[in-house]
Amino acid sequence: MTLNLCVLTPNRIVWDSEVKEIILSTNSGQIGVLPNHAPIATALDIGILRIRLLKDQWFTMALMGGFARVGNNEITILVNDAERGSDIDPQEAQQTLEIAEANLSRAEGKRQTIEANLALRRARTRVEVINSIL
């Protein structure tokens, strides 16, 4: 029994094939989805998506917030942006993280702080993805 996973972003389809298990990070924690899971519809936070492929390898992706729907063995994930672990450059991710941290300390006003926070979380997710692969 396998799950049919579809990860969509506004610009392209990032993933569309069969997997054995996934681990999503939602707003209220991480959930693991195995075949024959009950149907759920959940909001996703900026975090990591772990996929277990058919050959028992783990694959990581950074997701930037969205929604996930689990139907009868069909998972559809709609996110604002998604990046595969293999596509992220470690140096660049680290630099982005540092820039985001610097921006946060410099941010003034509520709106800028919120934006800086979001940017920081996004950068941190990407770095985590890199680290989890290595």
Binding site: L8, N11, L44
Partner: protein, 360 residues
């Protein structure tokens, strides 16, 4: 003798000043055309209107070269200069070149946008799979979002969008119900301002100044959601079926309260209850986020599809106008040759009759 002179003077004066009313407009157009041949828009309207007005009058019964004579020289003298015809040919050729170039520009832009549109189609399908598409739900507050283009010369797609929006307005009007417009794009705004100015809530133009991307559209969607109260949002756009086929479509998005109400009624939305909603504090909050996300995704897809349709419609409009310009050029060439031959013949006759008068 004096009397004869005054008579000829009077006759010549009347010949110059009295033009029949239906030819006066032609004379004005002709002088306007000769004054400003360079702005091609003006020439297009002149060239097109010249021939169309010509055919609607009784001049339509005359053969074509007679028509040109009559309108280019309304006093009725038969011999026009080849210069006039040549000027007209030059302007028509320029128009043809411009429309061909516009067609190619639209074709190249279309290729790029088409790819992105097809990628974005996958965005709204999960929402429809989850929530269903319910255009016929009866709600109190409707908001019609009309997507149109900023630039013209793209065929009839903007008019069809506006017509559909107006039909939706009439359908949803009634006691205790209110319908508002949100207009994207100059062309629809111009048409709506004319008769439904009060019903326009927000109007947004210059969407395509920078290449379309999801962030920009989601900011726009956020703006609309914040400023407009709605029970149902209906997005009207032209769906890009193929390069020659554009279908006006309506995408309906219901607000979370209405979704709850309809879920009790059963149907596709009733299945929503079988899903366990997670990932937040309350179910209502999640549904709210879901509705907003659905709106921005559907709008992103709508804007892209409309851009594709606009480019495709522009391609076919420019193609048909280059073909028309080519036809006009052929007819003008024939007229030019006939004029030239007529003037040569006249000269020959004059010379020969002059020579024969001399020799006896």
């Amino acid at each position: 003798m004096y009397f004869l002179q005054i008579l000829t003077l009077a006759v010549s004066v009347t010949l110059h000043t009295s033009t029949p009313p239906h030819l006066q407009r032609f004379r004005r157009m002709q002088s306007a055309q000769q004054r400003c041949l360079r702005p091609w828009r003006l020439v297009v309207s002149n060239v097109v209107s010249n021939f169309s007005v010509c055919s609607s009058r009784d001049l339509g019964r005359l053969p074509h070269h007679e028509q040109i004579f009559r309108e280019l020289d309304p006093k009725g003298a038969r011999f026009i200069s080849t210069q006039v015809v040549r000027n007209r040919m030059k302007s028509v050729k320029n128009i043809q070149k411009i429309t061909k170039a516009m067609k190619m520009v639209a074709a190249s832009k279309l290729r790029a946008v088409q790819q992105r549109t097809e990628n974005s189609r996958g965005l709204w399908q999960p929402f429809t799979a989850l929530l269903g598409d319910n255009p016929s739900t009866d709600v109190k507050k409707n908001v019609i979002v009309t997507i149109s283009s900023d630039k013209g010369l793209c065929g009839g797609i903007n008019s069809t969008s506006v017509k559909m929006s107006k039909a939706l307005y009439k359908l949803n009007a009634g006691p205790e119900k209110e319908v508002k417009y949100v207009v994207l794009g100059e062309k629809a705004k111009a048409q709506f301002v004319r008769d439904s100015k009060k019903a326009i809530e927000i109007s947004i133009t210059e969407l395509q100044k920078y290449p379309l991307n999801y962030t920009q559209v989601s900011v726009l969607a956020d703006d609309i959601l914040k400023n407009v109260e709605y029970d149902a949002l209906r997005i009207v756009f032209n769906k890009f079926q193929s390069v020659v086929q554009f279908i006006p479509t309506v995408a309906t998005i219901l607000s979370p309260e209405v979704v709850e109400r309809e879920a009790e009624a059963g149907g596709k939305l009733g299945d929503l209850d079988s899903y366990e909603i997670e990932g937040g504090e309350t179910k209502g909050e999640i549904l709210q986020n879901l509705a907003e996300f659905q709106f921005s995704c559907t709008m992103f897809n709508g804007v892209l599809e409309n851009a594709c349709s606009e480019l495709g419609a522009r391609m076919s409009a420019m193609d048909s106008s280059s073909r028309n310009a080519g036809d006009m050029l052929d007819r003008l060439t024939l007229t030019y040759n006939r004029t030239r031959q007529a003037s040569i013949t006249t000269e020959l006759i004059e010379i020969i009759s002059g020579a024969s008068a001399l020799t006896g």
